[in-house]
Symmetry: C2
Subunit: 215 residues, 2 copies
């Protein structure tokens, strides 16, 4: 039985899981959750994820939520097929992948999310752009990207000279970010920009980023 992903194609967290499945070459069934109707905040969805967030993965009698836990599960379950995303055969390499996965979650995600809300989410709900939030988070994000620039001048990808889950976890927000007036924070940094162009040209990413549109 194919694994089942409950999600929405515009959702960055859903995209993370779908790209992982494509990297692994694993077939899946996609169940679209009606975010606009608030289906994720009601039953029966809440019995899948009590926090009311997409995505959810169902694999026979196992139900998992939190996108970064789902991708980790998939990388373990399908460790011998497709792209080696967690480098489980090498303790130093898997440690490096984990460091940069945590950097995504704890250094990159915060200011990035704040900027995406200001430029893309809030306007859809008629909320004004808060210039102070934009400025403080642009500055914060620029400092994070300075570290990335230095890192990516020494290795082709974040964890080392191999594409890994650390790179994959970053892609969905960057797709949206590149449509904002602050995209030069990426394009002005030589190595960050080259890394992003490389990541964005992978077949799995090209396929899934088509869905990342906030209509």
């Amino acid at each position: 039985m194919a694994v089942k992903v409950h999600g929405a194609s515009m959702s960055t967290c859903t995209a993370r899981v779908l790209a992982c499945l494509h990297e692994k070459g694993v077939e899946y069934e996609f169940v679209s959750v009606g975010l606009a109707d608030g289906a994720h905040k009601q039953q029966p969805f809440l019995s899948l994820n009590p926090f009311g967030l997409v995505p959810v993965l169902e694999d026979e009698d196992l139900t998992l939520f939190e996108s970064r836990a789902i991708t980790r599960y998939l990388a373990h379950k399908y460790k011998d097929v497709g792209t080696d995303l967690l480098r489980l055969e090498s303790l130093p390499e898997s440690a490096s992948v984990n460091v940069w996965m945590e950097v995504e979650a704890h250094q990159f995600n915060g200011p990035m999310q704040a900027l995406i809300y200001q430029f893309i989410v809030n306007p859809k709900f008629g909320l004004p752009v808060d210039e102070q939030v934009v400025e403080s988070n642009s500055e914060k994000f620029g400092k994070v990207l300075d570290v990335y620039e230095e890192r990516l001048s020494k290795s082709k990808y974040l964890a080392g000279d191999y594409f890994s889950m650390a790179d994959l976890h970053h892609f969905p927000y960057i797709v949206y970010f590149m449509t904002t007036p602050k995209s030069s924070l990426i394009t002005s940094r030589l190595h960050v920009n080259a890394w992003w162009e490389d990541v964005a040209s992978r077949p799995s990413i090209m396929k899934i980023k088509e869905g990342l549109k906030f209509d």
Copy 2:
């Protein structure tokens, strides 16, 4: 050669790593980083972690940062000694541990950190408590804890009936939180409170929480 932890005893992220080492029964060397003097924002510390944050782990020629990546590394390296924190022998169990580790990082940490800043960090710098931030984050945190209460009514610990890394990752902020006027968000929830009393009474946690004082 013993692993070396660069950190500060008052730091929640440092405490997470130290408790993990105690659960594993692994000896370590502790190198105190002078946060009050800004030593973490200068060389030579920045060559260990370019983000300028504690803790950092050095294990021979491997240098790792991000506390949650360090604990994961230690759990893999010392998987056969001490507490089984990641349940690596069972794919469904390790998946459950990962789900609740991500819940800590993405649902629990945000509102918890906001409340700790309001009640403990800001006052030390002469900043006033922002009642609006306290109220919105208390409400948000309460909803997260409602899910925890339901979960902990069905299993003794977050991932299942076994203490795991998911539980361990929560403890440092809760130690500080229990000293704030909002501690009843924990104590008023029967199962969350029983879980916390159990976690807080573990020898590793009792040992490390002594250092969690914001002077």
